[in-house]
Each structure stands twice: as C-alpha cells, then as structure tokens.
Subunit: 104 residues, 2 copies
DNA sequence: TAACTATATAATGATATGCTTATATTATGT
DNA sequence: ACATAATATAAGCATATCATTATATAGTTA
C-alpha cells in the first residue's frame, strides 16, 4: 500500500468531528443536516468534513431527492477497517439514522 | 476507548515522516541520528517527530550512553496495532538498525 | 576542566487546517 | 417562473503543524 494513500486516510480520520461522523455512519446512512445538530458546527463545516472523508475513499454518498445520504464505503482498506472498528458508537450523541447501513 | 486518545494517536501517525520512522522501528531499535539521513530533515525536526510519537504512547526510548534508542512500544492499543501492521517496511529507505526489536 | 558528540528545547516563519459568513448550485413544490 | 430547502463552494481568519536556525542540556573523552 502506498504511503501517500495511508497518510491521506489517516489525516482524514485524525479529527474528533470526523470520528464522530464515522461513529454515526457505523449505524447506517445519515444526511448532512443531521450532523450539524450532533456536532454543533455549521452546515458548510460539516460539508467540508464529509468531502475530506469522501476524497480519502472512506465514505460514499447517495442522492435522495434534495438530500444526500452518506455512508461508510464498503470494500474498505484493512487500515480503515481497523480504524472504524476502534470507533465507539457512543460518540454519535444520538444522531438520527436515515436508513440501515447496506454494507453490514 | 476515549475519543481524545484515538484522535491523538491518529494525529501522531498521520504524517509521512512519522510513518517512515515507524517503518524503521518495525525492524528494531534506531537512534535519532540514523533518522536524519533517512528522512532528509534536520536533527531537531526528527526529535520533534519522535516526541509526538512518544507522547501518543506509540514509541518508547532507552538511553544508551550519549545515544537514545527508540523502539515501538509493546502492549499497543488495538488501533495502533492495526496501523503499524499496515506500515510497509520498504518505506525505511534502508535505515540502520541498532538492535533487534525486543517486542517482536 | 575543556572540547566534542548526541539529543532536546526555543524562537521563528511558511503552509495547512478548521471554522465562520456569504454566495452558488440543485431539486422540490406552488 | 418563483420561492423554498438541502447542500456545496468561496473567501477570510485564527490556530495548528512542520520545517528551519540558534541555543541548551547531558554524556564522553582528552
């Protein structure tokens, strides 16, 4: 595995808000608007975090009308599988889940 | 596991130079001076990287006369075990090993 | 003690990160 | 077409990160 990809993925997850986002996504699909309440940051800030996770290949998006539902990418790298396994679902602060995670 | 600790450990490893340091340390103990050649950065820069890894509980040091030998901490968190497993030993660029890794 | 070596710390500067507010884009409903 | 809603992008700012050079600390040796 390339050091550049590993570095990119690790940088993507090395942030408390993004770890909380992933904690939510472990439960299923979540739309952007649900994260703003949970994290206590603005909508653009959430959008930027999601982009960083998406560009690292950790999450994917799905369009549902005006909404976008994000979920954890299936076929994850071994590295990210390990990181995701270490994420505690209690960090979600009870974020609302839109639909069950397809990947699990 | 606490989100603060996970974040701290992930930040510590989310850097190409520190991943290369860990790649060296997978082989055994290495002293500070050996890293400066491999990484192509100054001695203080190496020292600061090692401190960050040490403060995250990922590596430990051992004094050998004027030298300090660093090695990967035994009894690692599951998270860091996974990260270290993903590190390719070829990233070391042939750094000199001072002694065999005790932990392995 | 003085000189030398290995490492750590301090100060500084350039770039990256993460937030904000403002604006653009895209889809829905009337 | 127009208003509304959800999300993305742009611009700006405060702070963090990672490098540098200069200096401090600690061990070794003459």
């Amino acid at each position: 595995m390339e050091i550049e990809l590993i570095e990119k993925q690790l940088k993507a997850v090395a942030d408390a808000n993004r770890l909380k986002i992933l904690a939510c996504l472990k439960k299923g699909e979540v739309c952007v608007c649900d994260f703003t309440d949970v994290l206590g940051i603005s909508q653009p800030a959430v959008s930027q975090h999601l982009r960083k996770l998406k560009e690292a290949g950790i999450i994917t998006e799905r369009k549902v009308g005006t909404w976008k539902h994000y979920r954890i990418q299936e076929n994850q790298t071994t590295l990210m599988q390990g990181v995701i396994a270490s994420i505690n679902e209690e960090w979600t602060c009870g974020c609302k889940i839109e639909s069950e995670c397809v990947g699990d």
